[in-house]
Point group: C2
Chain length 479, copies 2
């Protein structure tokens, strides 16, 4: 199939039909009317607006939230703003007969469902650019900017293709867990490159060091680097020159997008937009672990009850600390990864081997250095010495026992020790201190049988290939 045919297919996947368009419009105006009514009846000095992808017309078919913003004057007291908004939010859903829960981003807000459509009621301030009071104060300006720059339905379709492609290859989402591309960033990329395919062609050449500054705030990338530092991708926010819209994008996600773009151009396929779902069963996982030849160690503990972005920040940091321990003791780490869900957080570390030799060659100081004598005193006797010290070239060497030759025992000692000193985060250290489990190789199946989404995650981890690569690489697997 040609790229054009595939894009036509993809567009059918992402473009809402008239019924959905009408439904979104109707629901939006009902909710907006409700909020405005409450604001008026209570005499609150604030306005309500629909913002986000619904307002911009760039949502993906069957995949939309209605974001209602309550916009207060910038001088409002923060406590008042929060209290008012929660009260209004709750009343909206009670009046419309929907479920709701409280969510926490920078501010608390109310998320609810009306006719099974998710509705967020978010407080913000009508700030002037550059004098932002809350993090979401930029949103009205973002919405306005995109509406002004992307006026045609064709333009909105290009955004939809890009979002869907990014979802398909797993790089969509600016939350800390994913570290990928936000919807707004997709829109700015389409504004910059003009179309989905030009965006992909550019990405395929490599975006590391790419600098996009639609409003020309900076006199070149060097000037921008002084503000943003050495980030892999810099896309200046048209509504805020001090913000890099691409700052959440990790180097890994940027590289994945490049690699997927190359592969898509080389072997175009709908699988990049719509990766096949996988039938995973416990037995195939068991076989994959058994014939692997590596050692997989999983650390499971109760998921700390903190907002997702905070949780994932702590997970990334603590997993890094956990991996550092193995590397410090010279266990060879093949890959590490974390999963969290259903109240459980799991760190997985795959090692070349659970056991490493009990003895190692240890290079000492130069023979004519001051340290030589201390080295000899340390290694001439005692249990740690196996043979030597001897001289090779201009240095002392000794064969000495390793501190740990079993990764499991190392992990146990660390996890029962002072986790903060190892660099684990506060909440995760506290959770592990309350209790943890270590699962080895086949033992991971115990966790997998408990939870379907962990099972799928484990399957992908064991395979190791991103799904777009697994299904997109060979001609025979992509239809």
């Amino acid at each position: 199939m040609s790229i054009d045919d595939i894009l036509a297919d993809a567009l059918r996947l992402v473009k809402p039909d008239r019924l959905e368009e009408a439904r979104v419009k109707t629901l939006s105006s009902i909710v907006l009317g409700k909020v405005r009514g409450i604001l008026a009846s209570e005499g609150v000095d604030a306005e309500a607006e629909i913002l986000g992808s619904v307002a911009k017309g760039t949502w993906l078919k069957g995949d939309y939230d209605i974001d209602v913003f309550i916009l207060y004057p910038p001088h409002i007291d923060r406590g008042v703003l929060e209290d008012l908004s929660l009260r209004i939010g709750v009343r909206v859903f009670e009046d419309l007969g929907g479920r709701w829960i409280l969510r926490y981003a920078e501010h608390p807000y109310v998320e609810g469902w009306v006719d099974d459509v998710r509705v967020n009621i978010v407080p913000a301030c009508r700030s002037k650019p550059g004098s932002w009071v809350t993090a979401v104060d930029r949103t009205p300006y973002h919405t306005e900017y995109v509406r002004r720059m992307i006026r045609s339905e064709e333009g909105r379709d290009q955004v939809r293709l890009l979002k869907k492609f990014m979802k398909g290859v797993g790089v969509y989402g600016a939350d800390v867990r994913v570290g990928g591309f936000s919807g707004y960033l997709c829109e700015l990329l389409i504004i910059s490159f003009g179309s989905f395919i030009e965006t992909i062609r550019s990405a395929a050449r490599g975006w590391r060091g790419l600098f996009i500054d639609l409003e020309g705030y900076y006199d070149g990338i060097e000037a921008a680097r002084k503000v943003f530092g050495d980030q892999p991708l810099i896309v200046v926010d048209p509504v805020d020159p001090n913000r890099n819209v691409a700052s959440p994008v990790s180097l890994t996600k940027l590289s994945e997008f490049t690699a997927a773009s190359r592969l898509f151009l080389d072997k175009p396929s709908i699988v990049f937009f719509n990766p096949p779902s996988i039938e995973v069963d416990i037995d195939s996982i068991r076989r994959a672990i058994e014939c692997r030849g590596t050692s997989i160690l999983a650390l499971a503990f109760e998921e700390p009850r903190i907002p997702p972005d905070t949780l994932w920040g702590e997970i990334h940091r603590s997993l890094r600390a956990f991996v550092n321990v193995f590397e410090k003791w010279e266990f060879r780490v093949i890959r590490s990864s974390a999963w969290s869900g259903e109240g459980l957080t799991v760190f997985i570390v795959e090692l070349e081997s659970r056991f490493i030799p009990g003895v190692k060659l240890h290079r000492g100081p130069p023979v004519d250095s001051r340290e030589a004598y201390r080295f000899l005193e340390k290694y001439m006797g005692g249990d740690i010495r196996v043979s030597g010290p001897w001289i090779d070239g201009d240095r002392w060497y000794v064969a000495r026992r390793r501190g740990y030759s079993d990764a499991y025992l190392l992990a146990m000692d660390v996890l029962k020790g002072d986790l903060l000193a190892y660099g684990f985060s506060k909440d995760i250290a506290a959770s592990i201190a309350r209790g943890f489990g270590i699962y080895l190789d086949g033992g991971l199946l115990e966790l997998a049988v408990r939870c379907r989404s962990f099972l799928e995650y484990l399957y992908d981890l064991l395979d190791g290939r991103p799904r777009w690569l697994r299904f997109g690489f060979s001609k025979d697997t992509c239809g």
Copy 2:
């Protein structure tokens, strides 16, 4: 004990008594008279002289050869020189009733025994300095130089102490096997530093980069480096400015001498001159191997029948090639060493472990490089891939099977393959091709029971410490 007391003790070990002095003189003049008589009776145009440590009076008690040089005019035909000298040498021993054998250095020469004293009859040319015909033409000049510069018995005693110390700490001997200090070099060091203790004090500060030029041929070390290159120690031969007397000294032996000198100054002891002999038995070796935790692999083959310096040159080179193979396949080598004797040559390689994990993390090319596609084609399928490829940062990674996870199987494949291509030397490759044995860990005992000197070598290798360190380090072990 004070250093002075120890040096007095050491001097008693090294200084020949009057009886020995008289015997050496008598024997020397008997042999010299015999050689001169034969030269005269045959009308050979050559002179005979006693040279070397006997002529210089710097031999160690009970440890001397009588070196008789036959000095030909420089224009003599090489073949004639060799034939004549062998014929004369053989006749000397037949007339004096001694055993003899032929030896090969640069030229063949005759080594024999008269009254159990070793006598070498060596041909050389009466060359002018700088126009050397054979490598030993310098010897008359060396003997003359040392006699001129060291005129007192005290001076000769200082040479004896230094030689004995160097023997004791295992750095004496300029042959390729040892790669250490020659007797002539010891003499030059005493000439330079004035005494044994000043030589040791200087060495203790580190001799790397030391430059000794007694006759002032060079305008500083930089000028000398242009001739000698970046050798660790440069001692210009007073009789030949183009020769570095210290060129056989390896960095390791130089460092060992530095370390031993330091330790001697810090903890003076007679053990540096006279290391205790060790009682080695098979059982202690067995225990040492068993509780070690490493893997020792020995390769044994028939000793090639070539002159010792050539043999040890080939051994060093081939052992390095053998070790390279293990390191290339990521086995971790703790130490390697070679032994040769009684018709057998043995390479020993100690590994952290005979087995390494069957799977390894393999870092691939950057995602935006040209090589990325080839990497994916190679690792997307096939038996070598275990999981991945995946992206981390800006690179592809894959977990792949190792080529070898058993060092024994690796060694077998290499030894049955093209050894020259691996960098083994010609004679050793040929010997291995005729047959070899691989012995693992406890299996080494099989070799050790065959041969006492291999047993002692193995004991020292397992302990790892130079003997001077083992007995010289702690106050309680050195008397």
